[in-house]
């Protein structure tokens, strides 16, 4: 549970950094969207497991361990929701009139200057919408997380994992129902916020 906000934050940060070369890596980024989440989780386990090439290196040099920890859950969520974010942000950027960038250039703004002071502020509602969508989606992540980091209470247990666990335990139906309501509320909240942000995108683009 504690992992969830971090998952959203991690993903948002990653999405931000993806800007300059986004067209190039766009194709690769969409792979997690098409793959079954269990496959993503398994690949992560192979890569980041304590005996995996990256995981071993990280543990040895930095003492960082992803498997069976909330950071691993965050990593899995980030990877799965990455394409969603990129899509939302890209859409927002493409809605910006390219003439504005030309105008900024004639006024003395270089490439980085235009990105920071024109493109990003105009795409801000899209950034927010992307982050919220990803947050909502990562709340529901199941397959990749259970494969990669298992289901450890207080560490890697997301809402669906908690619901699943409650249903497996005898007499856990009431707990499961409670968690379901919470899940629905969170989903509604997330989607409402995303819609509000979306409207702001449109009012920006249409001036």
């Amino acid at each position: 549970m504690a992992a969830l906000p971090f998952a959203a934050l991690t993903a948002a940060a990653l999405a931000n950094r993806s800007f300059p070369g986004k067209a190039l890596i766009d194709g690769v980024l969409h792979v997690p969207l098409a793959l079954p989440p269990v496959v993503v989780g398994y690949l992560l386990l192979l890569l980041f497991g304590t005996r995996g090439p990256l995981g071993a290196w990280l543990l040895q040099h930095w003492g960082v361990r992803f498997v069976f920890s909330w950071t691993g859950a965050a990593l899995a969520s980030a990877l799965i929701t990455f394409p969603l974010q990129v899509r939302a942000i890209r859409g927002a950027i493409e809605a910006i009139d390219p003439g504005l960038a030309a105008a900024a250039a004639t006024l003395g703004a270089g490439r980085l200057d235009r990105l920071v002071n024109l493109t990003l502020p105009l795409a801000l509602p899209g950034l927010i919408a992307g982050a919220i969508t990803a947050f909502a989606a990562s709340l529901g992540e199941f397959g990749a997380i259970i494969t990669f980091v298992s289901n450890i209470p207080g560490e890697t247990r997301t809402l669906p994992l908690a619901i699943y666990a409650a249903l497996q335990a005898p007499g856990g139906e009431a707990e499961a129902a409670r968690l379901c309501v919470l899940s629905i509320l969170l989903a509604l909240l997330g989607l409402t916020l995303a819609e509000v942000a979306n409207r702001r995108v449109r009012s920006f683009a249409g001036r």
Binding site: D97, G99, L100, A102, A103, A104, A105, T106, L107, G108, A109, G110, D113, L118, P121, L122, F204, R207
Partner: protein
């Protein structure tokens, strides 16, 4: 010569090849029909497109030269570009828009000059607004101010009036005239409206299908008998600058002196000595072989026929010399035959009506 441009560019099936110079002061109009390549020329000047070959220099600074491989990107050119659609940044206030280029200038304009430009364009009351809250005319003025505050080396105006209705155009003209008269900058003004050009420009570059068809001082070119044909219409008439010489209050007239004579018009509310620009349509000049005596017209100018041209099956255009000034008149072929007009002949030009607009102080 302040702007010196000569380049070739190909865009899909459209080939552009132009060369011209623009002076340090006053407005150079790039005039021609839509699709003539006008915007491409100023985009090349601003660095928004890179021509295939050629050379572009402003004030001796080479911005592009395909021989040496010189290419200065748009953000380092210091071109003040006023786009047709304004292109104000929607997320910034008017003030932040105005300051966008100002903040990025190598040497920022002093605050006193900022206030002067804001006042010149009448923007004081708009500073806190967002672009979405502005009218079309206000948006055009902010776009001009934003370009000026970046302390540009040259100004490019791409049909700044095209998106405005007639009333809004009249609202912007005085600002453009002040721009022309107060800023010591080369200004390139793109337009397909000869009315705008005749009112504002000092030099015309006539573009057609990617080529320079004619170029020269406005006053000469407009009375060139080929101009009407080249610009795809009939002669625009005579445009000339004059000084308010004297008010004849008892007659209700003002005398305007130009290089070649004087014209009397209904009293102008302008100080003696101030400069005005006049437009006389070709159809508003009547020719006479002898000085008419009993006639209501106030203006009868002695002139010499410089050139005659059969312009339409019904009309003959006549270029007249009057001192250092040229006039163009359109008369019917029948009149021309009856009067037996020919080049070098002395005639009298009777001016029926004159339109007056303000002119530069220079």
């Amino acid at each position: 010569m302040s702007i010196d441009i000569g380049f070739a560019h190909r865009y899909r099936a459209f080939a552009l090849e132009v060369a011209f110079q623009a002076q340090n002061t006053g407005i150079t109009a790039l005039f021609g029909p839509s699709g003539a390549g006008k915007t491409t020329v100023i985009d090349a000047l601003a660095g928004l497109i890179r021509p295939e070959r050629g050379r572009i220099a402003v004030n001796g600074r080479v911005l592009f030269d395909s021989h040496t491989g010189t290419w200065i990107p748009a953000h380092a050119r210091r071109a003040g570009y006023v786009f047709q659609d304004g292109r104000l940044f929607p997320h910034l206030s008017v003030e932040a828009n105005l300051r966008f280029g100002w903040r990025r200038a190598a040497v920022a304009l002093p605050e006193a000059d900022v206030s002067r430009i804001v006042a010149m364009l009448g923007l004081e009351s708009l500073l806190a607004r967002k672009p979405a809250q502005l009218s079309g005319g206000e948006r055009a003025r902010v776009a001009i101010g934003r370009a000026l505050l970046a302390s540009p080396e040259f100004l490019l105006l791409d049909e700044p009036l095209a998106a405005l209705d007639a009333a809004r155009k009249q609202e912007i003209f005085p600002y453009l005239e002040r721009l022309r008269d107060e800023q010591r900058l080369p200004i390139v003004y793109v337009s397909h409206s000869l009315d705008e050009v005749a009112r504002l420009a000092d030099t015309i570059v006539l573009l057609g299908a990617g080529r320079v068809l004619a170029s020269g001082p406005l006053f000469d070119l407009l009375t060139d008998l080929r101009f009407g044909e080249l610009s795809g219409g009939s002669p625009y008439g005579t445009v000339l600058e004059a000084r308010v010489a004297r008010h004849l209050v008892e007659h209700g007239l003002s005398l305007l002196a130009f290089a070649g004579g004087e014209l009397a018009v209904a009293t102008l509310s302008r100080a003696e000595g101030s400069r005005v620009r006049m437009h006389i349509r070709a159809e508003d000049i009547i020719l006479a072989r002898e000085r008419p005596r009993a006639i209501s017209a106030n203006n009868i100018l002695p002139a010499t026929i410089v050139a005659l041209r059969d312009s339409t099956p019904q009309h003959v255009d006549v270029r007249l010399g009057c001192g250092q000034t040229h006039f163009v008149a359109r008369i019917t072929r029948a009149s021309c035959k009856r009067l037996e007009l020919c080049e070098g002949q002395n005639v009298f030009a009777i001016v029926k009506s004159v339109t007056i607009t303000p002119a530069g102080n220079g």
